[in-house]
Symmetry: C2
Subunit: 390 residues, 2 copies
Amino acid sequence: MLDVLRHVHLHPQTTRAELARDLGLSRGSAAEILARLRALDLVEETAAEPTGARGRPTRTVRRHERGPVVAAVDVSYESWRLAVAHLGGGLEPLRRERYGGQPAEDVLARISQALREARTAFGPRLRAVGVSMPGTVSGGRLVESATIGWRDVEVAERLRIAPVPVVIGNDATMAGVAEARRGAATGADVALHVAVEVGVGGVVLEHGRATTGSTGAGGEFGHLPFGDPDRPCPCGAHGCWDLEVDGRALARILGAPPPAAPRSAADAVLRRAGEGDPAALAAVDRVARNLGRGIGGLVNALDPRIVTLSGVAAALLDQAGDSVRAAYLSGLMRFRRHDPPPLIRAAFPRDGSLRGAAELAFDTVLSEAGLDSWRADVRPADARPAPETA
Amino acid sequence: MLDVLRHVHLHPQTTRAELARDLGLSRGSAAEILARLRALDLVEETAAEPTGARGRPTRTVRRHERGPVVAAVDVSYESWRLAVAHLGGGLEPLRRERYGGQPAEDVLARISQALREARTAFGPRLRAVGVSMPGTVSGGRLVESATIGWRDVEVAERLRIAPVPVVIGNDATMAGVAEARRGAATGADVALHVAVEVGVGGVVLEHGRATTGSTGAGGEFGHLPFGDPDRPCPCGAHGCWDLEVDGRALARILGAPPPAAPRSAADAVLRRAGEGDPAALAAVDRVARNLGRGIGGLVNALDPRIVTLSGVAAALLDQAGDSVRAAYLSGLMRFRRHDPPPLIRAAFPRDGSLRGAAELAFDTVLSEAGLDSWRADVRPADARPAPETA
DNA sequence: GCGATTATGCTCGTGAGGCGATCATAATAG
DNA sequence: CTATTATGATCGCCTCACGAGCATAATCGC
């Protein structure tokens, strides 16, 4: 039953016959399971459009109009977004606000307010909240963010509305989940996502499942030792890879002071390089090599089938792809070079973290416990109007 | 049923009552499942020794005398071992041979011969073979071994006897499995094992499951970029961590030529350091710091709950623990320092890889498919004598 | 010793969930 | 219009686990 529901979530445009084949279910079982899912307001079935093939036409399976939804929050540099996701992964943007410079408490209060409004609008259909934060997340807390400067902020508890689960994760982790499930790494058994914004984030995904370590802080690849052991990193360690591949690295190589907004600084240098500025070109090339070499090491250590890149990493792949790839190849162990995991641009450069947050939130819905609680809420089977979004 | 069998495997000295409690089974289910397992010659039950407590005494559950076994092979520097493991993890050594310098084909032929003898002795009770190799394993092949010099050797196919599955893995991976399931990292949700012999190997384990990447070559942490980008590594890359923490590093720091047997060379330097030789002490200290710093980076990236160390890494922890730990702490991101994952000596410094190979081999037995095939072999229920080891 | 207490094993009815066979149905092919 | 084809619907069957009630084997207290 869960398998069927998860399959519908991952393949929203499927038919009953296809579904039974993909999951190896008999037609009898499929009929029974789908009847149960229909009774629970989880899916709807309608006659499929004629395919022109012989035989009795199958039925399409779609999410139910009043099925469960989750809220997804993406906090990024100077703005945050809230969206609602339906079964199948469809996103419905609800709100976006800029918050330049406000303290964490105020921003979280605004987000919490927006979540409560969503709860009012969707009622018990809202089953979970997923939150993406631009920094290191450990045990439900944002322990440190180089991007927005927050430090040790209790996010999960702060955004808990009603009794629904709150899932919080690093933005690169979330984006990696989105890539692995519906993006550029779909179907890969093991995928590596590498995101460069301020520093390097990333995640390893096994069959779409993020391996985030024991406290959820896994994937901080930027804080592997890489460069000058005397160069201090804001994280407290020294010589972190972080410092060699982002806007700070570009500025340092160009002899400029440390930028306040490393991501925009990186974009500016990349633009200048695109216009042919030799100093910028040299800096971009050097950083591209640092990126490629580091990714090579990660591939050696983690053995992914594919590597997806986003943010500055994707831009470097576009503008200095040869340098990235050359350093990548020469950083690989020899036996890997004849068939290296490809470096691919992320499919969701803009809203990967939001999508990933929605995916992880939906994971709690598409679980034994999530299904039980939905059953309990739906069982009274009375006409609950459940106000749709106007 | 599988859950019960796995529980027996992991807790060989359990009782029926304990088992039912741990797995949340009703007494009825436990009775039924154990009856089935008994009928399949998988477990035996006997009256438990009196505990002195009130109530009807429970029964002990043990592996069946003629239950399934797996063969475990551990190939290491200049010698290999073969053992047989029973349900519960008990090892029964069968053979050990030295093979200094012989070509891979000859050594594999000897091992294959020993496996066939085991097959003859145990008959259909032998269900799987696990093989630990001292080098990089990818897709069933040993692609490269700095320790024994083999290169691109098809091991899995070469050691296939009869139709039983063959599982092959890197020695550090295998040892990590053993630590996570029955050793120093038992119970950890996420564990990191780091082994230094020739170079660095390791593995991340989630609930005892090794994350070995898409081809099985994951865990080659030694080939992360770490040191001098101009120093070539035999692997083909440059500046690998490998080169900074083993016997080669110690020799280089001491101005000695590259040792032929880096592991023994490391032991020699450690011995001299233990005797107070100042040059050796300085070299050991430097290498200890390289080790600690690298582990710090790995912990940042992978977020384990515990780190187990074996080989030279364990020796360094013994002899230069302060240096290892200091470098480890200063390599950690600041938020981790107040409660860093502990660095622990491996519980199985001698036979971790052998134990791990047995564990992974047993995983194939304790699976749906493995159980089905055992059922098919046992069902005829005739008195199959199945010669026990004399 | 002997009943009371306690923890466990054993048996059996129940229910969930999936499989496969069979029949019914809705499309196309000729 | 009939044959063919693929699917949906229904039903009996099987497996597996649960949980209630009874049986059993130990200790405790007298």
